[in-house]
Symmetry: C2
């Protein structure tokens, strides 16, 4: 079926209108009219081919919210009119140990990403949410509560689950002292989740001017990482650190903050500059990675958000503003996530 979208055509050109064919609705498929799509930093990496894996044209977008307009004849979980979401994945092998453990993001045969993966049905590459509609297997569609502001739900599908999953996996609980490093699209969700889980949340940032906003989001304290005295005063006191910094940085100064046997989880795909094992050895500490979350956990996160009334802080833009939005993201000029109002594409 004919689909309107915006695509990147090369490493250096702005995104521009693109039309392509979506697959027809199969027996297990859900067709979604996209209402909003969040703008993730990785959309920019893929548009610019920063990871060397982009096949043009690239239609980004994996923070998708919309309404079901049609379901396949074997679909049981959804019906026309449902408010739903689609995140970073649209398929996986469903048979490997990772898939069986509800960790499709680690599928041993490779998950099918929402955009930029080889498309097993249509050929070519999958195309994402910068478009008016999408067709997805019901297994990879999430239920969204009508209680929440749907445009502000969109970023939960990536920024939300990426921060929720490590907080759950490393069992953050009431009373724990949790540091969230970096206040951006991911960090602001990390603060909200950790606070809702009952933790004592410390925003750790290089920027003193982010302090007030961090507290508004739920942080109990703000620690300026360039302040050596303040860092020393917090040494050995953190149960968990969630590192959301999206660019290369030196992690050594953060390690002394952790208690013995504690972990810093990293969710950004970045160089860890000048890492020295000394900070790990002293106190038997760990650095770990975490990648989005499985479908089951993503649903759990959305349900947690409905229960705790958690959404992302967003700035809504038209599809036509996407290139300006990319420029502003590169300058960290967004609080905290751009979301595209897809009506602007439909009206164009």
């Amino acid at each position: 079926m004919n689909t309107k979208a915006y695509a990147a055509y090369s490493t250096d050109k702005p995104l521009a209108p693109f039309t392509f064919n979506r697959r027809e609705v199969g027996p297990l498929d859900v067709k979604i009219d996209i209402t909003y799509c969040g703008v993730c930093h990785s959309d920019i990496h893929m548009a610019h081919n920063d990871w060397g894996m982009s096949v043009y044209p690239v239609v980004p977008g994996h923070e998708i919210i919309g309404r079901v307009t049609e379901v396949g004849k074997k679909v049981t979980a959804f019906k026309k009119g449902d408010l739903v979401g689609v995140g970073c994945m649209v398929d996986s092998c469903r048979e490997c140990s990772a898939c069986k453990d509800d960790l499709e993001q680690f599928c041993e045969k490779g998950m099918t990403m929402t955009y930029g993966s080889p498309d097993p049905i249509m050929g070519g590459m999958t195309h994402g949410g910068y478009s008016d509609k999408i067709v997805v297997d019901e297994k990879f569609v999430l239920r969204v509560s009508e209680k929440l502001d749907e445009k502000a739900v969109a970023p939960l599908l990536c920024a939300g689950i990426t921060t929720y999953s490590p907080l759950r996996h490393w069992e953050v609980k009431k009373g724990d002292k949790v540091g969230v490093i970096g206040l951006g699209g991911l960090g602001h969700m990390g603060v909200k989740f950790a606070a809702a889980m009952g933790a004592h949340v410390v925003m750790i940032t290089t920027s003193p001017n982010k302090a007030a906003d961090a507290k508004r989001l739920g942080a109990h304290e703000v620690l300026i990482s360039k302040d050596a005295d303040a860092m020393a005063a917090h040494a050995g006191t953190f149960d968990f650190l969630l590192n959301t910094v999206p660019v290369g940085h030196d992690i050594n100064p953060y390690m002394p903050l952790l208690k013995r046997d504690a972990t810093m989880a990293i969710v950004g795909a970045t160089p860890l500059e000048n890492t020295h094992s000394f900070g790990l050895i002293m106190g038997r500490k760990s650095i770990a990675g975490s990648l989005i979350g499985g479908i089951k956990e993503t649903q759990e996160m959305l349900d947690f958000c409905a229960e705790h009334n958690i959404v992302s802080d967003v700035e809504v833009i038209d599809m036509q503003d996407i290139n300006t939005a990319y420029d502003r993201i590169m300058k960290s000029d967004v609080k905290y996530r751009f979301v595209i109002d897809m009506q602007s594409l439909k009206n164009a």
Copy 2:
């Protein structure tokens, strides 16, 4: 009491004879006639002030074996004639949470190292095992089985516990596939322990010429880390990696070897060059540090060695040969640990 020893006097001079006063035997002290002392790579770092913390003269040595010659009147655990060992620590605060958890190496007030720590009793700095005798609080003295070759037991006090502790902490068990990275003083003990714990042990080394010896020590397979095809063939199969490399190196190539959620434990205090979070994020993997082990676990390790007849592979030298031994260690020319026969010092 008057004590003969060898000491480093500055960063660039060879070690030379030194005489100093040991403390007298207090009520809880054990006096030990040192028979053998292992030579650890960190002895060289301290002799050369590589870590910027050396106060000269430095009497190295924290792999100490000897016979009890005298005990304080309140000592209950040891008697004259016992075969005993002393490792990297001779005291700690005994009151902090780490000490209470039998992890004195992480004492929150700082353990007293066997050499090179401020000496709370004699003033100045503590002096180690390159000497004819030592006086140590019974809490930091280990029992050694008469079944084992005492000269080959000496390196267990540091190289042994440093590799045993992470294998236990990360719960290596029968049937696990364990990789030991680096075949030196630590690595050769890691292979012996992991094999004795029932693991399928793979020696991971840059040097094909170490393969035969690795198998003699107990490795079931040898993986040459420079062989990209071989590394790829082992991808995603390891339950645990024990990284014993003592110098700065790139850890990224090892991360794909681990299974999902698995850990690489690092025991060397070294730069981890060019670390990238990608290898952690893909599969939710961890890099952790480990530092020697507590006194309780060190005793457990020595008992495990007696039960499984495990000792270090050693080359015995005279005290007077120490500077040549240091040069050979720097060239990795030792299989796998030098041990000083302290009779040579007593006869001098």
